[in-house]
């Protein structure tokens, strides 16, 4: 929890920067008031300094050097969401993960993902193909509500054909009832 709080603090200035960039291009009168933009840029830098002072060098490296999708402390590094048996409802935990990816996709219009839908081995195989697709579509819909574009998302169901865990018990089944977010293009 400590780590993610620090990250949030760092994420805020980054989001500000991004927002400023878009305002600049979108607004029709940027020439009139260039000053507030500069002020906004400066302000976060000032906020950032104490945070950097608190973070240990190792954690800073992990947080900043890699691609945001590879940051192990970011929700973006989580690419799998899980479901209940014969259900496609998205849990609160899954919601957070999907929202993070929706934000990323919205910020990176050239990013492309494949959403793989999966089911556990119970029941019949073609029904499970339908169930896997329904799960992937549920994630897709949520991504789109949160800012991702349809053209960024491809859905494919593997039903029960590609399990993540190979046991024949609830522990494995829980891991197999899933949708996976796979980036084809970052």
């Amino acid at each position: 929890m400590k780590v993610s709080n620090k990250l949030l603090l760092m994420a805020v200035p980054m989001a500000f920067l991004a927002a400023c960039g878009t305002t600049k291009t979108m607004q029709s009168e940027p020439m009139v008031e260039p000053e507030p933009v500069e002020q906004q840029v400066e302000a976060p830098v000032a906020v950032e300094q104490p945070v950097v002072a608190v973070v240990t060098p190792v954690e800073m490296d992990a947080g900043f050097n890699g691609h945001p999708l590879d940051d192990p402390d970011s929700l973006l590094s989580q690419r799998v969401v899980y479901f209940d048996f014969d259900k496609s409802d998205i849990s609160d935990q899954a919601r957070e993960i999907i929202a993070a990816h929706a934000g990323y996709l919205g910020d990176h219009p050239s990013a492309r993902i494949t959403l793989e839908g999966h089911a556990d081995e119970r029941g019949s195989r073609e029904y499970n193909m339908g169930l896997g697709e329904r799960r992937a579509n549920a994630v897709r819909q949520f991504l789109m509500l949160q800012g991702a574009a349809a053209r960024q998302i491809e859905v494919i169901s593997y039903g029960e054909e590609r399990p993540a865990a190979f046991g024949h018990d609830e522990a494995s089944w829980a891991l197999n009832r899933r949708a996976e977010i796979l980036y084809k293009n970052r």
Partner: protein, 437 residues
């Protein structure tokens, strides 16, 4: 009663020739037999011919294994036989009566210089009379099939319905390597598990094999292009064509009884719906329009309607849709999960996946009365498929962590298991009668 038919010899031969094939060989084990099976003796067949022309297989042993495997017969062990007659005039019926054998099969294989003639006769021991007798032309390579055909004739004479020993089964195998790679294979084997032949190998999933009504082609789903697509393939030549690769699901192909149409599932409109494709024209007719998952269609034997799985009522259940008027009727009400029907050849009943107390089993339902009978007692049973004579249902299940095929008689009394030496087997589809070979 436990009776094991070892395929070590055959597996050994295959091992020498092709390791992949050896891994695909099936071992059959009868896990539950019938009390009061018919006592029968199949005497080792005689042989007439020039040196070196001995038949390549033991015909009597194959017949004996077939009949025993059906659960309806109890074959007299070789060691208990007091004599080895090869024709009627050599039989002392009193000896066989003393052994409590009711039926007796004798015969011989004759090498005619270019082919074999297999002769056999079935006798009623207590009446001392011949029931049937045939002379069948065969070849070295066709001798197993000839033996299965003889089993079919004996079964039909004694039980009243034709045997299904000379038919085949298609199924999917998967071998997972420790490196995490997968090898999927669509296989076709004789109904006794011998002679498995790969129809298609792939590193990506293969699913849902379905026989054409003439038994010459298979429809199946392959992910070879990274997405599910439906292919039709001639089993003997390997010639194949892709017939469906729309956006989304392309699945659950089912050949119509006429062989001219294919019921299938597409989700190109956003969710899985049933369609019927005219195979020659490639035209599509949409059958269902419902927000639910509609899938796993099977044809009524008269081609007038489909039974399919749908969760439109909240959980997967079986429904019937009449093609002439699209009228839809729910068929299953017992239990919260009923799916993937297989039609009995006579059209009177269906086998399907039925959940009870968290276990998924194969159940049988009489379509006229709605009466439901659970046939199996394990917990991960799926993909039922009727034998073409309606006597047994083959299905996929799990045993000691492996995917295996099992068969159960429609009265639930006889069970047998077909296991691969390596890897998982699943999705069995029992072929129809093919008439010819």
């Amino acid at each position: 009663m436990k009776y094991k038919l070892s395929s070590i010899f055959v597996a050994g031969l295959l091992w020498l020739s092709n390791i992949g094939l050896a891994q695909a060989a099936l071992t059959i084990e009868i896990t539950q037999g019938v009390e009061g099976a018919l006592p029968i003796a199949i005497v080792p067949f005689g042989w007439q011919g020039s040196p070196g022309s001995q038949p390549p297989v033991d015909v009597a042993a194959i017949i004996s294994a077939d009949l025993q495997r059906s659960g309806r017969f109890k074959a007299l062990p070789l060691a208990d036989m007091l004599a080895s007659p090869h024709e009627g005039s050599e039989i002392n019926f009193r000896d066989w009566r003393l052994l409590n054998v009711e039926s007796l099969v004798v015969g011989r294989v004759i090498w005619s210089g270019s082919s074999y003639i297999v002769q056999f006769q079935l006798f009623d021991v207590f009446r001392s009379s011949s029931l049937i007798g045939y002379s069948i032309r065969s070849t070295a390579g066709g001798m197993r099939l000839t033996a299965h055909q003889i089993s079919d004739l004996i079964y039909e004479k004694m039980i009243g319905v034709p045997g299904a020993f000379s038919t085949r089964i298609a199924y999917v195998t998967e071998i997972r390597s420790t490196a995490g790679t997968h090898q999927y294979s669509l296989q076709v084997a004789d109904a006794d598990g011998y002679n498995p032949q790969p129809v298609l190998n792939s590193s990506r999933p293969l699913m849902s094999p379905s026989w054409s009504p003439d038994g010459k082609r298979l429809a199946y789903v392959s992910f070879e292009s990274n997405r599910p697509a439906i292919y039709l393939q001639e089993v003997d030549t390997g010639v194949r064509e892709m017939v469906s690769s729309f956006t989304g699901l392309n699945g659950a192909p089912a050949w119509s009884p006429s062989g001219k149409q294919l019921a299938l599932v597409l989700s190109r409109t956003g969710n899985p719906e049933l369609y019927i494709m005219d195979i020659e024209q490639r035209s599509l007719r949409q059958i269902t329009r419902n927000y639910a998952i509609d899938t796993e269609p099977v044809w009524y034997p008269d081609g007038s309607a489909l039974i399919f799985t749908s969760d439109r009522g909240g959980t997967p259940q079986l429904y019937k849709v009449t093609l002439a008027n699209s009228k839809t009727k729910r068929l299953t009400f017992e239990g919260r999960y009923n799916s993937r029907a297989s039609f009995a050849p006579d059209g009177n009943s269906i086998a399907f996946v039925h959940e009870e107390d968290g276990a998924f089993r194969i159940a049988l339902m009489d379509l006229a009365t709605g009466g439901l009978q659970v046939l199996t007692d394990s917990r991960l049973d799926e993909s039922p498929s009727f034998a073409p004579n309606g006597s047994m249902v083959i299905y996929a299940t799990e045993n000691k962590g492996k995917g295996v095929l099992s068969a159960v008689s429609v009265d639930g009394r006889v069970k047998q298991r077909l296991a691969l030496q390596v890897g998982d087997a699943r999705e069995p589809a029992w072929s129809p009668y093919t008439g010819s070979q």
